[in-house]
């Protein structure tokens, strides 16, 4: 997993609420047995018509936001299906950070496993950043994970909270399976106790 330290880039505004993971990556692209290559189909049914032509109105099809690395989105981003294909598609497109007032739990977890930083901020902050994102390619936001801040292109700075363990893993690009494997003795002990206490499991 790539480290996440600081990011300065274009932010795309997606004010729609309840953007679900079916929208982020529709089912027909879940048939892959790989993690890569999904970026071209990110937001597929919002982004292309039935013939595969780009829908010009869609934000990521507009010249100003084609190279966006940050999304500023409406409430409850990533709800619905647990498909990790959603963060894989975002990452493959080049999105490393999503900012919203709230995220669905599973999507939120999945982001951290892929080096994507989901940032939860109060409504007023998201509104201000949404406005900034609307300015397009000349407006670059900066996300600083170490200092836990997002700065808009006009210099407004917002502090965000993050779980210390998740921050540590993102900053260092740590693979948590490797970390947990080191705890095998504790897992062994737990299993021995469990075999006594709840042998039917």
């Amino acid at each position: 997993m790539d480290k996440f330290t600081t990011l300065t880039g274009i932010a795309a505004p997606m004010p729609l609420v309840n953007i679900d993971t079916d929208m982020i990556i529709p089912k027909q692209f879940l048939k892959t047995i790989k993690r890569s290559g999904l970026g071209v189909n990110l937001f597929d049914e919002l982004r292309y018509d039935r013939e595969g032509n780009e829908i010009p109105d869609f934000v990521l099809n507009q010249p100003a936001w084609r190279d966006a690395q940050i999304l500023v989105a409406g409430d409850n981003f990533g709800c619905g299906s647990s498909r990790e294909h959603a963060p894989w598609a975002l990452l493959d497109f080049g999105i490393r950070c999503v900012i919203s007032t709230s995220f669905a739990d599973i999507f939120f977890n999945n982001c951290f496993k892929n080096g994507i930083l989901p940032i939860t901020l109060p409504q007023e902050a998201v509104d201000a950043l949404m406005e900034d994102a609307r300015k397009g390619a000349n407006a670059r936001m900066t996300v600083d994970l170490e200092n836990q801040t997002v700065s808009s292109s006009d210099g407004q700075e917002f502090h965000f909270d993050i779980d210390p363990f998740r921050k540590h893993c993102l900053l260092n690009g740590l693979d948590d399976i490797g970390l947990t494997m080191e705890k095998a003795p504790a897992i062994d002990r737990f299993e021995t106790q469990m075999a006594q206490a709840r042998p039917w499991i």
Binding site: P15, L16, V17, N18, D20, D22, M23, P26, K27, Q28, L30, K31, T32, I33, K34, R35, E45, R50, G74, D75, N76, C79, G80, S81, S82, R83, E84, P87, S102, F103, A104, D105, I106, N109, N110, K113, N114, D163, P164, F165, D176, I177, T180, M181, K183, A184, A186, I187, F190, E191, Q193, M194, A197, R198, P199, W200, I201
Partner: protein, 477 residues
């Protein structure tokens, strides 16, 4: 297994959590032991590949259960194989991974194959007090047994395969109480849609919900699974119902349920799994069972749920970001504000899914359809949740009722709930569905989904439009 808060009143969620903590970090992050790991073909190939690349094994293959469900054809000729190459490769990958890593496995041609969330309980893999995970958001279903069950992403699937644990932060406790008795014609599906209509699709975010109250207590295990299945549609990490005699009666005798002395030991522990009277709740929602009407969705989010007696709302009825979302939903659904829900004509009926694909659901739909036929121009599909549900339904003659009513009778799988196999809606086609999501494109590109109970979906098929099951029964009796 240490109980760090012994003595203090705890919720059911607290108790199950405490019983599974392997290690707790200073910031509260825990390593949680996982008792059962369910696996299907869509969210697992990259996880098994990860194990292979790092030379890791499945730590507890005996606690891991694999079954293909999302991609499998539900047509009767499916033994000839899967036409779509990518779907076939994915199912073949599961087959290879299950055998190579030695996990429990129900292949496509096994009578026990079905939707993973129907197979788990049916085979007795799901038991009270367990932690159950699967790379699928509807894992919440298993909470009906008083198990802590939730969906995970593929990276976490790999983590559980390799370590039989998950790194977790504890969620908050939310209580959803449904008091009193449900009116005739009102089912578990109506209850859960009414709850989501009340709390919103993000109302449970950051919480584990325990459903309780007389109306919940009176539900069968099938009904309880319908309720917990859609906990995720309310944004919750998991949904739970405390185990009781109904639970024990369902579990007893299932192939992987404990037997003899172990059964007695298990039941005596399971009887301690309830929320203590003074336990702390971060959020409480109460609904009166008597107030819940047969409920359907009008829009493209499960929170767009209304009593069948209502009319389609206008965007101005909402505030904030929901105004634009409602406008978009109405356009997508091809509906005008002010239309009576009972005037919405449908083209298709889908009965099945992990929400409503169990035997009781098929019985309820068949009861409505007995001696009746689908309206002219309406197509219908019944997809049992597992091969065993299908066999049971056939033994009871339900398949004949469905076929005589003009429905297709299919083999088990996820089918048109998400349309990863050929079972899809055509653009613009409108469906009365017993599944769980009415998202844009969920059942097929530009397909339009109205969620409802099996009886309501069957009745809509006969009438050709959405109907109030209470009036339908009276009018056509």
């Amino acid at each position: 297994m240490t109980n760090t808060t012994a003595g203090a009143p705890r919720t059911l969620y607290d108790k199950i959590w405490d019983a599974h903590v392997v290690e707790r970090q200073e910031d509260g992050t825990c390593l949680l032991y996982i008792d059962r790991h369910l696996v299907h073909e869509v969210t697992s190939p990259q996880a098994f590949e990860g194990l292979r690349m790092t030379g890791r094994k499945v730590r507890a293959p005996e606690r891991t259960i694999a079954v293909p469900d999302h991609n499998v054809p539900t047509t009767w000729d499916r033994e000839k194989g899967i036409d779509n190459e990518e779907s076939r490769i994915q199912v073949e990958a599961l087959d290879r991974n299950a055998r190579e890593f030695g996990v429990n496995y129900y292949p496509v041609n096994d009578i026990r194959q079905g939707i993973v969330h129907i197979v788990g309980p049916e085979q007795g893999w799901t038991l009270p007090g367990m932690t159950v995970v699967c790379g699928d958001s509807h894992t919440a279903t298993h909470g009906a047994f008083g198990a802590l069950a939730h969906g995970i992403g593929t990276s976490e699937v790999e983590h559980v395969l390799a370590t039989q644990t998950l790194i977790q932060k504890k969620s908050k406790n939310m209580k959803v109480e449904v008091t009193g008795r449900l009116a005739p014609g009102v089912t578990a599906k109506d209850v859960v849609l009414a709850i989501i209509g009340e709390t919103g699709t993000a109302g449970g975010t950051g919480h584990v919900i325990e459903y309780c109250g007389e109306a919940i207590r009176n539900l069968s295990m099938e009904g309880r699974m319908t309720i917990c299945n859609m906990a995720i549609e309310g944004g919750a990490r998991a949904g739970l119902i405390a185990p009781d005699e109904t639970t024990f009666a369902y579990v007893n005798g299932r192939p992987h349920a404990p037997k003899g002395a172990q059964w007695e030991a298990a039941v005596s522990w399971w009887r301690t799994l309830y929320s203590d009277p003074d336990a702390h709740w971060d959020k409480v929602v109460t609904l009166r069972g008597e107030d819940i009407a047969p409920t359907v969705t009008w829009g493209t989010s499960p929170e767009d749920a209304l009593p069948i007696t209502a009319t389609v709302p206008a965007p101005e009825d909402f505030t904030g970001g929901k105004v634009e979302a409602a406008r978009r939903s109405l356009e997508y659904m091809g509906l005008a504000a002010g239309t009576k829900l009972t005037d919405i004509a449908i083209d298709a009926v889908f009965i099945g899914s992990c929400t409503n694909g169990r035997i009781e659901d098929l019985r309820a739909a068949a009861e409505v359809l007995r001696g009746r036929r689908l309206a002219e121009g309406v197509r219908g599909m019944v997809v049992p949740g597992s091969g065993l549900v299908r066999a049971q339904a056939e033994e009871e003659g339900l398949d004949t009722i469905f076929k005589e009513a003009g429905f297709e009778w299919r083999l088990a799988g996820c089918s048109m709930c998400l349309g990863m196999n050929p079972d899809q809606l055509a653009p613009g086609e409108r469906c009365a569905a017993t599944s769980n999501r009415n998202f844009e494109g969920r059942q097929g590109y530009k397909g339009r989904t109205h969620l409802m109970s099996p009886a309501m979906a069957a009745a809509a098929g006969v009438a050709g439009h959405l109907v109030d099951i209470r009036e339908f029964a009276a009018v056509t009796a």
